[in-house]
Subunit: 421 residues, 2 copies
């Protein structure tokens, strides 16, 4: 895969050490001591190679994008330039919300390589924590903070049109990753595709029903159009529970290589939709010592808290910057408290409905599409797994079709409980 | 204003002749004969200088953008690079609909100068024809053809995401013109602004009512957000009746310097909204020899025909290219006649509602904003003019607030008639 032309060469654990030695921004992090260096490839995601580098006096993570999708191989090429957009989004979101985004130490555009903070143990991937049944008391607080700040400050509520169009144009370059989302989220689950799979034969009929549901496909078309056309804010683009690392006190959002200017609801929906998947997977993880009943309640509370805190923080930022340079709602026009309340309510109601639609689409694709989630995959009994998945799928279909009927998140939680029971 | 740095210098009637002589693509149009050359500056628009050049064996128009708004002067700077976007849009829309877009002969990016077909007499600006009471039997047919083809072929109904994002990024560069629209269409009319004016004192209360109408401002915010964020198709961006030149048989769309990737309804709404303005202006042009009754009926019929023909042509293109490379509605997903009908109906219903919203916003700004229309301005009796304008304004406010209630264009026409009578 090496190409002398563009300065790109894929590294391995050995050549990475030479690269680090030759790169001051990285070698200085290790105090220029390399004797005790430990390098370990840990990429367990779908796309990239990830190395943990630990020395006596420092550590970092190296992430290199290769020009294909790792979990499929060279047969599915994918622009390695995604690393540029990932680094740009990490820097931008990190600037806006430094408490919840790992710091970037080094970016090499030619090598498609990012050096960033190593999220040391006990940080684990949130999805694994949800499967294990761990509660994270600050999760809703932290994720709502991250989403409120990154989405607000990259939207026209804060930015001028000039800044906005410049950024939108830049991120149009991340088109290959957008196309991948279009395919795996909005297209493949709704048609016969070689990549689709599901818990067969249990869900054969359910998968077919998704492909034959006209009302569902009508709604998906509307969401896809919004995804492709609406440059509302710099979204993470892949904000599921596998893109969040957590401890009891820390919440860190990683892997924004799908970042682009898209609808805010796509991020919020990805996060909440994956929490709903985690909720429906719990019955598959229950056993005699733990029925997961309390934990399911915690997940539902986290869904509700995340939205409610997001709404509170987002509208607080809106109020705080009402007289700023944002061009969406000029203070000379939106000049009385009643109207200010009205536009915020209307905006948040629309955003909740977008969120439910995108969240539902993300749930569906994880059950009948190409890439599944460990929440369900780790349930070894296929019959039990299928029962969990079917309930999640039915919940998603309901949310997608009826999203306009929900006025508040507690109604959504009630509807989830109803499907579950 | 001349700058040696970027190769730009503003021309006048004299220096233009030297420029033409030195430019083969232009001089050849004149058969390289310059003795009988006639050059006449005719720019009557708000922004640019326009020269008609006629020689013994050929003719053309030269349009040069200057780095400010002509009708206001150097105190309102405006990117002269708009000429690049105008030329690009003329070429793109001309390729898609050559019968209704003047051919570009020459474009000089440094000079911000376009040489294009001279639309010879009896071509006149449509707005002037509407004021004079001329019927154009092919207008609805031609404009629906132009809008259906330019909007369909530049949307994701025809394009791939890759093509779409590349074009969107390019036209993000036309940001200054977008900002101008944002200001004069979506902002100034709804706040106190030095540029606003209206037929005073008659409409003082009406202008104030616009500025104090919370429900109206809520709707305008939604439209502005769509204008700024939704890259649906390459829109003309200023498709009022002053951007169309007509004869009995010919319809030519000019002046797309506001072109960018925006919502389709912005173009259709601009055109239909300006026809509605023309309708409400007719009472001010009626006299003893012509009560304009028949003509008003023709305008309403043209509004109805334009939309209905647009819908027919647009959906026919959609059917024709169903198996093409467009990524919005993949044929493997939208794979049965009932569903195909459903998605088209839903799309067109949404587009009609966008059209009514944008059309209404364009009407309002022509009555209480900075730039008015000759339809009303040419009514010399201020009291009569104000009556016409008030009815148009009330119609626009109704359309903007109730646009979601309209299912078909004939309902809109009925509502217009009701306000008028």
């Amino acid at each position: 895969m090496a190409s002398a032309d563009d300065g790109f060469r894929p590294l391995d654990e050995k050549s990475l050490i030479e690269y680090i030695k030759a790169t001051p921004s990285l070698s200085s992090k290790l105090g220029n001591h390399f004797d005790d260096l430990q390098v370990k490839e840990v990429g367990d995601g779908n796309l990239n190679f990830v190395y943990i580098v630990v020395g006596g006096s420092g550590s970092f993570v190296i992430k290199q994008a290769l020009p294909y999708i790792r979990c499929i191989g060279e047969s599915w090429p994918m622009a390695k330039e995604r690393a540029y957009f990932e680094a740009t989004a990490l820097n931008e979101h990190g600037r806006l919300c430094p408490g919840h985004v790992p710091e970037v130490y080094h970016f090499d555009r030619a090598m498609c390589l990012i050096g960033m903070r190593y999220l040391e143990p006990p940080h684990i991937i949130l999805r694994k924590g949800l499967i294990a049944g761990h509660e994270y008391p600050l999760l809703a607080e932290h994720m709502s903070e991250y989403m409120a700040r990154t989405l607000f400050f990259t939207s026209l509520l804060y930015r001028t049109t000039t800044e906005h169009k410049r950024e939108v144009a830049e991120f149009c370059g991340n088109v290959e990753l957008c196309r991948l989302t279009e395919q795996v989220v909005f297209s493949d689950p709704y048609k016969v595709s070689q990549y689709n799979h599901w818990t067969s034969p249990y869900l054969d009929h359910d998968a077919e029903a998704v492909r034959e549901d006209n009302a569902l496909k009508l709604e998906v078309a509307e969401l896809k159009s919004m995804f492709c056309e609406r440059a509302q804010a710099l979204v993470h683009g892949d904000l599921h529970t596998g893109s969040v690392m957590v401890t009891h006190d820390s919440t860190q959002v990683i892997d924004p290589e799908f970042a682009f200017y898209g609808p805010m609801g796509f991020d919020i929906g990805a996060f909440l939709g994956n929490l709903i998947l985690a909720f429906f997977a719990q019955d598959g993880h229950a056993n005699q010592s733990n029925d997961r009943k309390t934990y399911k309640e915690w997940i539902l509370r986290s869904i509700e808290d995340t939205w409610n805190l997001f709404e509170k923080k987002f509208t607080a930022l809106w109020d705080e910057h009402r007289d700023g340079s944002g061009e969406a709602y000029l203070s000379e026009i939106y000049n009385n408290p009643e109207l200010q309340q009205l536009v915020k309510q209307t905006f948040m109601k629309g955003l909740l409905q977008d969120t439910l639609g995108f969240g539902a689409a993300k749930m569906i694709r994880r059950i009948v599409g190409v890439a599944h989630v460990e929440d369900f995959e780790s349930i070894t009994d296929a019959g039990v797994r299928a029962d969990c998945e079917r309930r999640a799928l039915n919940c998603a279909k309901m949310l997608l079709k009826k999203r306009r009927e929900f006025q508040a998140i507690n109604e959504v939680v009630s509807a989830i409980q109803q499907i579950h029971s």
